[in-house]
Amino acid sequence: MEYKFKSIKSYGLNKEKILKMYQDMLKIRYFENKITDVYSKGLMPGLAHLYIGEEAVAVGTCANLTERDFAVSTHRGHGHLIAQGVDLKKMMAEVLGKEIGYCKGKGGSMHIMDINKGILGANGIVGAGIPIATGSAYSAKIRGTDQVTISFFGEAASNQGTFHESINMAAAWKLPVVYVCENNLYGISVDIRKVTNTKDIATRALAYDIPGVVVDGNDVLEVYRVTKEAVDRARKGEGPSLIECKTYRWKGHNLGDPGRIYRLEEERKEWMKRCPIKTFQERLIKEKIYSEEKLNLIEKNIKEMIREITDFAIKSPYPREEEAYEDLFVEKKGVEAR
């Protein structure tokens, strides 16, 4: 599993952009660590699916988007949301089921949405976001905007019918959408290699006559470079692409699943050695882009910020009981009172 990084400078990005990627990955990591913490203290209802280990995929991809673009997320959605710059207080509050949460406590971890930031929802049904993302791309095309939609999903979702049905339509109609498959190898416990014959998911792009690219999902700059090409292509009206990011979830499928029964410890350790954040930090220092002191300070500040937003969310009130009966329909008052 030896992986050779290219020099950061070869990507031609400005220092601020590089730093933001580093910060966003850290925000995801510390946010997820905090979730583990509040969960183990019994402060969190239900559960959540952690993104630890996969940070470079969301950050590298979303670094290509503007505030007007769209992203459709998954059950493992915290990373995508944070990378798109959502309000972390409202996000943590939602995970805790609080009134000020993004969904007023009605969605929880698996359904966080920020429509104003173009995040059309995390989604609890595997593969269900793929057609929704395709529809958002169709809408952008009809409305004549240059908005691009990112469709995030896992390797297991690529075996749902929606994957085929949606990419087929997007390819036929040259829709501005980028399908980003996060291949973390396991659908809960099932090893993709045991249920799928092809080595890569991206090769399926051949069937739709669209570009299909495999990329190291733990290298944020490679993810950025590859998705940039796809986003540019989509924006120019040249149609969809399928990007497969090879990565690994360090934790179990969800909180409470140790994720060990079905995976070899050596495999996990190998992937952890290739931590997307740590390797990036090492490169930043080695190439003298940022000093170790500076990066450590940034990390400390992010850790502190996550602690603050979590305390705030913990102290914030739960919704009123009556809230359960609101928001089912958009109603114009008086028209359908009966």
């Binding site: 009605k106 929704i132 529809g135 359908e336 009966r338």
Partner: protein
Amino acid sequence: MKVKKITYALAIAEAIDEEMQRDKNVILLGEDVGRLGGNFKATVGLYEKYGESRVKDTPISENSFTGLGVGAALTGLRPIVEIMFGDFLMLAMDQIGNQAAKIRYMSGGQAKIPLTIRTTLGGGRSSAAQHSQSLQALVCHIPGLKVVTPSSAAEAKGLLKTAIRDDNPVIFFEHKMEYNKTYEVPEEEYTIPFGVANILKEGKDITIVGTSNQALKALQAAEELIKGGISAEIIDPRTLVPLDKNTIINSVKKTGRLLIVDEGYECCGVAGEIAMSILKDVFYYLDVPIERLTTANLPLPFSPVLEFPIIPDEKKIFQKAKEMVIGKEVAKWQNI
């Protein structure tokens, strides 16, 4: 009021045409809605008028083109998705039931899904078990969906225009046996609000609630019933969600009898639901128990001699209503 005579299918096409003209964000998606003008000819002329981007022939991928409608609705369009046969709703149930119905609620009211899903119900065409079902109960069961079952062409047109303007997901059931029938439809533009039942005929002896074209069949039955001195009040609820319970309750308080006719299956069906949802309000006014006429709990068989006997029709409505008013034994005796 000036009226014109057009088919039910054309009334649907007119409703879509008027709304597409009124709002450029209205688009139409589905199998064969384009060049062919719809399998039931209910989208004739729209492809020629609005072009391929707004009238889109989709591949045969019901779940994903419904999801495409959900995504488009989330981002500013008002899609109309056609699912050719109501039976195919089951192919799209994830996008209908888990996505369209729930996204607004799950997002705490941030999003709206102005999506109209047009589909069909009704047997009687010898289309057998996978092209004949009336699955309105299936979608009524899921909170977050409005459900419309229009009767005549004029009703279908006015209700469809309301559906398209509604900011919520609406499942709109057109009756397959009605498409080719000609009806009087108002010349001028009009819409029909949701949640307001239509009293097709006033009466004093029995209330008959008929969904979709069963309301029209009930009206035919009422014309026969009156010959025997039985005066039936006929109600078309128009929308099952929201349901105008008050109109039904007030009618039953007056007549003391209620027969509900729905072409869906009896088990966990619309007729049972309507009955139970008003029972506590009418219980002490009832002279006889509430009755229902539905399709038997069977897959619809192919041969007409097998199919028609298990679907409600005007004759069955007539017989059941008569039994309820004059008593089963007397009705039997009268038939000899």
